[in-house]
């Protein structure tokens, strides 16, 4: 509440309805003098209002400021002051949360109900203030609880746990375990994100071709390899086909090159140019 300025007296000259543009139009009446009890320098008002956590907080402030007991609020007076703030906020085009207007309506309703004469027949009727008082009390309770929580000693500000460097640890820390299902789920997610299922052509080549591409590239890491040496006859026809497809794929991707020194000389497969020069980047 440090933003609350001292109430300033209106200028002594003039009798209120002085000429000049009105400060605000309140309930259709031009307001040239700010009510004494809620006058706040306009530039401070915004800061001031930001210190309220909502309509209940504002009401509590109005009650506390006059040293009133929550259980004994003069509804008419508090309503008048509350409306004053609301209208001022609206006039100043401050963003006004809808909750403030709901509260205004509730106050107006309570006020009007209290003005109605009570007959014996409605003696049992709930005091119209009861619900408001209950909410104010409940809010005050948690406003205080929040303050108490803030006052508790806490880490980072008041408490510092002891954390020492561990000794050099003997024994290796275990490597993380991964299940195949986790891996597949990860892939599925990334593919869904990339929307590959719909927009990309699904590669139909069997994975073994991709794998063989890797093995061929690996073999070429040591230098050019005779084309024929890439094939393992024990793998049978299928193995030979897979290797051949892998070589074609690699050629297509410009990842390998074929070289033949002269006609009918052995064909050599090598990693694409300069690949054998740079080992690492």
């Amino acid at each position: 509440m440090n933003a609350e300025p001292a109430a300033l007296s209106p200028a002594p000259d003039g009798a209120g309805q002085a000429e000049g543009p009105p400060l605000a139009i309140v309930r259709g009446e031009p307001l040239t003098l700010v009510p004494r009890d809620l006058y706040i320098p306009p530039d401070a008002l915004e800061v001031f209002l930001e210190t309220f956590e909502g309509p209940l907080d504002l009401l509590l402030y109005l009650i506390k400021r006059q040293n009133l007991d929550i259980l004994d609020i003069p509804i008419a007076e508090i309503t008048r002051q509350y409306m004053g703030y609301i209208e001022l906020m609206q006039e100043m085009r401050l963003e006004l949360a809808a909750e403030y207007l709901v509260m205004a309506a509730m106050l107006a309703e309570i006020k009007s109900r209290m003005l109605l004469p009570r007959s014996a027949a409605v003696e049992d009727e709930d005091d119209p203030r009861a619900e408001l008082v209950r909410r104010l009390q409940e809010y005050e309770q948690f406003k205080q609880a929040a303050q108490d929580l803030d006052d508790l000693p806490r880490l980072e500000r008041d408490l510092f746990p002891a954390t020492l460097a561990p000794p050099p640890l003997t024994g290796e820390r275990p490597l993380p375990e991964v299940g195949l299902d986790e891996l597949l789920l990860a892939l599925r997610e990334v593919l869904q994100r990339a929307d590959m299922f719909t927009h990309h052509q699904i590669r139909r080549e069997p994975l073994s071709v991709r794998e063989r591409m890797s093995r061929v590239l690996e073999a070429l890491g040591q230098g050019p390899v005779p084309f024929a040496a890439l094939f393992t006859l024990e793998e049978g026809r299928r193995g030979v086909v897979v290797t051949f497809l892998a070589v074609l794929e690699l050629l297509k991707a410009h990842l390998v090159e074929l070289a033949q020194a002269e006609l009918f000389a052995p064909i050599y497969l090598s990693a694409a140019r300069r690949a054998d020069v740079a080992h690492d980047t």
């Binding site: 956590e53 004994d72 209950r134 406003k143 929580l149 508790l152 806490r154 746990p161």
Partner: protein, 191 residues
């Protein structure tokens, strides 16, 4: 295993860990053959607590277990170790946290009903990211809103061993009898 060695192992583990250790976690430091009983563990912890009596730190039980922490009386000096100011929390966040702590399990709408304003998504996110608050379940009403509650980490942060240690709430007064009787007719200020 001698009680002295047990004490030293626990002391070393509590100091090296970057989080409070529960009794279960302490038990798991030992192989089956050497594992101390619960009674032995507690006795060793008592001895450790006493051994710090005249030191700069103390053994404290918080939400998720035991930890050594520097005595609060030394904070004015210790706080100078860090250049940055500790984080401050807005009233809106603290009020929301207080409601979750005291009224859990609680929905966002219930928090809003007490505070009289909407609770920003950012606040719930901050509380969740700090691991002070988690979703305990969903309320079986239309929309199945999440029910929030506090975590052991919340207790750790605020140096509490259980929710029982929270400051007690301000008492609510009964308004039925306390409210002035309304005037029978429109006139106010009759008295």
């Amino acid at each position: 295993m001698t009680p002295e060695l047990l004490c030293r192992i626990l002391e070393g583990a509590l100091l090296a860990a970057d989080r409070p250790l529960s009794l279960e976690q302490m038990e798991r430091l030992f192989e089956d053959a050497e594992r101390p009983s619960r009674a032995e563990l507690r006795k060793a912890l008592d001895a450790l607590a006493q051994a710090c009596d005249d030191r700069g730190y103390e053994l404290r039980q918080v939400g998720s277990g035991y930890r050594f922490q520097v005595r609060e009386s030394l904070s004015p000096w210790i706080a100078r170790l860090w250049e940055e100011r500790p984080p401050r929390y807005s009233r809106a966040l603290l009020e929301t946290l207080a409601l979750i702590a005291y009224r859990q399990p609680i929905t966002r709408a219930e928090i809003e009903a007490v505070r009289g304003v909407t609770v920003s998504t950012q606040i719930i996110k901050t509380l969740t990211e700090r691991e002070w608050v988690s979703v305990l379940g969903h309320k079986e009403v239309p929309g199945r809103p999440a029910l929030y509650g506090t975590t052991p980490r919340f207790l750790d942060y605020f140096n509490l061993s259980s929710l029982d240690e929270l400051p007690s709430l301000m008492a609510l007064r009964d308004l039925g009898s306390a409210l002035d009787p309304l005037p029978p007719s429109g006139e106010q200020g009759r008295k």
